[in-house]
Amino acid sequence: MSALRPGQEATLRKGWWRAHKWLLLRRVSQFGILALFLLGPWAGLWIVKGNLASSLTLDVLPLTDPYVLLQSFLTGHAVAGTALAGAAIVTVFYLIVGGRVYCSWVCPVNLVTDLAAWLRRRLNIKGSARMSRQTRYWVLGLTFVLAFLTGTIAWEVVNPVSMLHRGLIFGMGFAWAIVLAVFLFDLFVLRHGWCGHVCPVGAFYSLLAMPSVVRVSAAAREKCDDCMDCFAVCPEQQVIRPALKGADQGIGPVILSPNCTNCGRCIDVCALDVFRFSTRFSNATTPHIRVAQNKEVSP
């Protein structure tokens, strides 16, 4: 551990661009997706219509949020039409790239909560309420129960995720107040509070794409010098430890937890390039590799 801020050492060693590569790509993705949606209402260029609940790209490609569609199904509505195809496409996509890629690469609330987390580090705000990270699965279950009991998609009347995205595209109204509440909650009440503890949308996507292919791997974990920078920036820090420190217990280097958002920030901030993007199939435990290497090296 050094006196440097998390990621500073990486910046010194690798240069600013390489130490912010995935962060920048992620911001490009987040703002790019928003821009695609906004081109219509702002510039009259209708490449994408709708919002994250359901959209139509170039009048051909339907994309639908499987979470909201499942809630609709639970209310007793016989879902019909292009939404089914749209949800299938989205599901397949996240099964490849990782469910919570939705959270870190698409969701607009991530911009808000990332800002809160960054401010929390910069202002050195310590202390945080205690809440289980499993809470989100309870909330997820709750949204399903509410849909079933009320016969309406009850969660959508308060969901800050859809409210912010819809607000940006169709008119904000007082949705900003709810987004501000999420921001303040993350900043002062609970570290990584919304995205890491409460949000059922992220919880749903983590379950939807449990067996997803693309994963972050601590491929060079033997190089780790315990600087803790990855833990400092990771929004779901509990996912790192097994992969990074589990070599002795025979745990592979690939982060298999469905709650890893594949944001790639750990790859950026690691000065020693311990992490890289990989697939879940390259999870051979390093001892085997080392043994094989030893055999080759030693005569």
């Binding site: 639908t64 209310t75 809440m131 309406t152 859809s162 409210m163 109204g173």
Partner: protein, 282 residues
């Protein structure tokens, strides 16, 4: 295996933590659930797009994507904002601001990805978004005896959804009043009449069916309709009534009452006929 103090403690902690999370989420859910139920009460001025089912079904089917709003060529539809009294993110319009123009190809219904707007609606005349009601019969200019007629003229289903019925103007004693009458079997609830009403506050308003319409008890049967449907009277026909009147006298139902039968009258229009009658009275 003996229980060690630490395992006892961790189980206790697990139970307490679980209870803590569960009760917190339950409280949260109670709030969300109650709020969601309250947002089912759509205000009377908010009208759903064509093809939307009953409010509760609609709120289960609509995923708030706004594709209907995007394909509405007249900017009639919009999505409710969180502070509005309509369920957040759902599409609606207010007739007094921008009414539905009843596009023949119904683009909003075509755009809906979930079937919340019923794809079986292919003729916009079959849409039932609400029902126009001439709600203020004291200020409606036509009721005052003037020939405003604007609601009648703008109605896309003129002479079907709104007709003008002539009545006597009792105030002046010599003029007619043309009353706009809405017919529920044709009115789509598009709201053009409400939008066009010249009063500061519209005298004719589109209301949800549940507010606009009464409903007969299910056991009610309207006699003359049943008779028409069956082609005959369904009850024993009345015996034709007979009066015991003196000979040569009949009863006039139109108001004259008792009178002599016409052919038996002793006096003809032409007095000469009487005089020339054979065997006439002296």
């Amino acid at each position: 295996m003996a229980r060690t103090p630490s395992s006892k403690l961790s189980r206790r902690r697990f139970l307490v933590d679980t209870a803590r999370t569960a009760s917190g989420v339950l409280l949260f859910g109670l709030g969300v659930g109650l709020y969601a139920r309250r947002s089912e009460s759509l205000p009377a001025t908010a009208i759903r797009p064509p093809g939307a089912g009953p409010e509760r079904d609609f709120l289960g089917a609509c995923i708030r994507c706004g594709l209907c709003v995007r394909d509405c060529p007249y900017d009639t539809l919009r999505l409710a904002r969180p502070e509005e009294p309509v369920a957040t993110g759902t599409p609606f319009f207010e007739a007094r601001k921008i009414p539905c123009e009843m596009c023949e190809d119904i683009p909003c219904v075509k755009a809906c990805p979930t079937g919340a707007l019923d794809k079986d609606l292919t003729n916009i005349d079959d849409a039932r978004m609400g029902l126009a009601v001439l709600i203020d019969q004291e200020n409606c200019l036509n009721f005052l005896g003037l020939r405003c007629d604007v609601c009648y003229r703008v109605c896309p289903l003129i002479d079907k959804a709104i007709t003008l019925e002539a009545r006597h103007n009792v105030r002046s004693g010599k003029h007619a009043i043309f009353i706009p009458v809405v017919h529920s079997e044709a009115c789509t609830g598009c709201g053009k009449c409400e939008h066009a009403c010249v009063l500061d506050q519209a005298a004719i308003k589109v209301l949800p069916d549940k507010l606009a319409k009464g409903e007969l008890g299910r056991h009610y049967r309207v006699g003359w309709k049943e008779k028409q449907r069956a082609g005959k009277s369904l009850v024993t026909p009345d015996v034709e009534h007979q009066y015991n009147l003196p000979e040569g006298v009949e009863y006039d139902y139109e108001g004259e009452g008792l009178k002599m039968k016409q052919h038996d009258t002793p006096f003809a229009d032409n007095p000469l006929d009487t005089l020339n009658r054979k065997g006439g009275k002296p």
